[in-house]
Amino acid sequence: MEKHHINALKEIVGEENVLTSVEDLYCYSYDATPGHAHMPDAVVSPANTAETSKILKLANENHIPVYTRGSGTNLSAGCVPTKGGIVLLMTRLNKILEVDLENLVAVAEPGVIVADLNKEIASLGLIYPPDPGTVATATLGGTVAENAGGLRGLKYGVSKHYVMGLEVVLANGDIMNTGGKNVKDVSGYDMTKLFTGSEGTLCVITKIISKLVPAPEAKKAMMAIFKDLDNAGKAVSAIIAAKIIPATLEIMDNATIRTVEDYAKVGLPLDAEAVLLIEVDGNPIVVEKEAEKVMEALKANHADLVQIAKDDAERDKLWAARRAALPALAKLRPTTYVEDATVPRNKVPDFLREVSSIAKRHNVTIGTFGHAGDGNMHPTIVCDIRIPEEMERVYQAMDEMFKAAIALGGTLSGEHGIGLGKLPWMEQQHGLVTMNAMRSIKRALDPNLILNPGKLVGEC
């Protein structure tokens, strides 16, 4: 980028909203993904859609790469400015514009923190369900662009199930509106769904129209400990077969159980092969009935210990183990890769076994926990990125892990996105025809390849 480009950007957003010092640029060279960092040439924070449009027009005309960023909590290197250029920081667009109680819809700018949206609507008895682990820091724009999920995915779905419409700026600076407040809408291609999860490669999101749902009146949490992984898998299937869709159905494998117990001393037996955490929510009467059925399913499938929370304090206790999973693993070693390979629900035990055998084979520490109900696993690899020999083994384990997920009919990413992190396996999952179709879409909407270039679909 040249000096006159920087000056032009300053003209658009004001001097104080363009960062160019080496110290500031260094702070935007990374996101939450280990091993990827690159300096941008400028960090630009627009105040509104009009400024965003002007920035993109300038970038497009001058072929300057643009990397859209919210809070930078991405786990697939989606925010890393790998080719320099502009980091487009959207956090100043942080207003909740409307909460429409008649249509149960919120209209918000992309820089709103997801938890802040939920705080705002809590008093109205509503929730916006997608709740990724970073819900207290991640922006709505970032979670929509990544199609983020969370703990409640099984019952409530993920971001794409809530985004009803968008205002976006295209690569050339054109402003485009998709969808709206209509529950039913089949008018034209579903551009809203296309842009949701497009990881900043097709457009810059400047406004989000999202569906809200009534908050559940009651919740009931249960925990079951299994000495045999297969029994845990069967219990998950039995719960679903009993026609119960829990809000949360989490699993932790033996490696995670050992680590959590060592760190938090919550009383988990070290020889347990799996722990399930289940939470049902909704109408209080229904919740009681469902909880009973869940307990039956757990016992029928030989859970070695079952617990049900009688009150909030007990609920917190049951959740403590699951909450400790990531911190406990992350504290083992300096570098933490939280992956999100996902398999069909009934393949979860197979996948967990695969992962632990891969870990043994390559002498790598992997703890797997995740959302058993929707098959979305978080094999968490802890290592030290400063030791090349170890990283060699880590990459091999990762390679086998992703291939195993694909072989089980799974997918590379359930909720973190592809970015750069999972790009090498994209063609294996999708095949060349699909990859070419995706690249054609990319080239059609971003002919100069300025938007998050090289990510998601790779080089085009």
């Binding site: 960062l19 110290e23 500031d24 300096p334 990125i385």
Partner: protein, 439 residues
């Protein structure tokens, strides 16, 4: 352009300065959870303001990717040391301590902020410091205008290093330790405690010191205020000037050790933290000092903690104080020495007192000790949120356990045209004892 000093130059000067931090820095997994709780990031909105950014900058310096520049220095100084990031971190990275190390590197390379430099140079010389602050008390009214009914004053004319509009507290015309004999005797004392007054209580908030003494006397405790005590060193330590901090710490440790008290009591979270955590940390590799320091650390208590956990005050002696009170937990109380229950128990023991919890009582008030000297506008913005939380409780009094928090809250209340009193917890207990005598 300021002269840039590279990591290479620094490493030549002091190889151990940052390099031993490499492992600690590598433990940051850059998840960014610190963004949720950092009061500075909430206002500034830029990555260099939050722990993740600051630790990355330190890594950058160590790698030689970025210089130990003025901008690095500025980034490190924009931290209120509230420890919220450290408490939040899933990887257990002690970010607040690492940022201090970053400041130390900056201080070695570039020197202190000019305002702090002047203040701290004064601080190191006990006699000159004492003299200057006494003079401030005597001549203070010439330069500060007192706000009626409050322990607060406005500058009459611009002062170096001070924002013109800022409300501070007036310097006492007679410092606390000059108002009393060194040993305050009681009949048949149950124990002997040394009162570490700290600077704000000795020179400014003497009302808090008086209350501490009154309350301890009520409990038949002999109070000694060692005349040779001096600033605990926290302000210089927090600014990265470790050498000066060690001089002050050593002086206080030796002074208090010579009295052989049963307990040491302070009415300030930061001063207590200094005795309990910072001093042992400063001398951990000095066997001679270390034993003495550990011994003192074990018998040092913050006043509310002391009254509830050790003295176990007799609540039947308390009389009514009719006030609606909310409480702000100073960072060094909440996340430093982790004392939040005891001050509440003190308040809830007082008959007639209606306690209302504010939202996020342990969120930083923006003072950050001497942070507000160099970053007044920013510290005001952080404080405005706290003031709004106080307002929403409808309390008529806000209490805290730290002099600089009290000063910053008083300023915030004034700037927002609010009339609440900002006091120390112990002052309400003192009133309650007095009301008890009138029963």
């Amino acid at each position: 352009m300021t002269e840039k000093i590279t990591a290479k130059d620094i490493n030549e000067q002091d190889k151990a300065l940052l390099s031993d931090l490499q492992d600690a820095l590598a433990n940051c997994m850059k998840c960014g959870n610190c963004m949720e709780v950092c009061p500075v990031y909430k206002e500034v909105g830029k990555e260099a303001a939050v722990a993740r950014g600051k630790l990355s900058l330190m890594e950058g310096v160590l790698k030689g990717s970025i210089p130990l520049s003025a901008a690095f220095d500025a980034a490190m100084s924009k931290c209120v040391s509230c420890k919220a990031c450290t408490a939040k971190c899933p990887c257990g990275v002690p970010a607040d301590e690492l940022i201090l190390r970053g400041r130390q590197a900056a201080v070695k390379a570039r020197g202190l902020h000019p305002i702090k430099k002047k203040v701290f140079a004064l601080l190191k010389n006990r006699h000159l410091f004492d003299f200057s602050l006494r003079m401030a008390g005597i001549f203070g009214p010439l330069s500060f205008k007192k706000i009626p009914g409050k322990m607060a004053a406005l500058a009459r004319f611009p002062m170096p290093g001070m924002d013109y509009k800022r409300v501070t507290a007036p310097f006492a015309s007679t410092p606390l330790r000059s108002q009393y004999p060194e040993v305050i005797k009681v009949d048949r004392p149950t124990m002997r405690v040394g009162f570490f007054t700290g600077c704000t209580i000795n020179y400014i908030y003497t009302d808090v010191g008086q209350s501490v003494i009154n309350v301890l006397k009520e409990n038949n405790i002999e109070v000694t205020m060692p005349s040779m005590q001096h600033c605990c060193g926290t302000p210089v330590y927090m600014s990265g000037d470790v050498d000066s901090a060690k001089i002050l710490a050593k002086h206080n440790i030796e002074t208090f050790d010579s009295y052989n008290f049963d307990y040491i009591v302070s009415a300030c979270g930061s001063c207590t933290e200094a005795f309990r955590i910072e001093f042992p940390h400063l001398f951990h590799d000095d066997p001679k000092m270390s034993a003495m320091t550990e011994k003192l650390a074990k018998k040092t208590y913050e006043i509310s903690e002391f009254l509830i956990d050790i003295v176990k005050i007799d609540k039947t002696k308390l009389g009514p104080v009719n006030a609606t009170v909310t409480m702000h937990d100073p960072c060094h109380m909440a996340r430093g020495i982790k004392v939040t229950k005891q001050p509440r128990e003190v308040l809830k023991s007082i008959p007639g007192l209606h306690f209302v919890e504010m939202k996020a009582p342990d969120r930083c008030c923006g003072s950050g000790g001497s942070f507000s000297l160099g970053n007044y506008e920013l510290s005001r913005k952080i404080n405005d949120k706290k003031i709004a939380d106080i307002a929403s409780t409808n309390a008529d009094t806000v209490v805290t356990s730290c002099g600089t928090c009290r000063m910053h809250l008083t300023d915030g209340l004034f700037q927002n045209n609010m009339n609440q009193d900002a006091l120390h917890v112990i002052q309400l207990l003192d009133r309650s004892y007095k009301a008890g005598h009138q029963k």
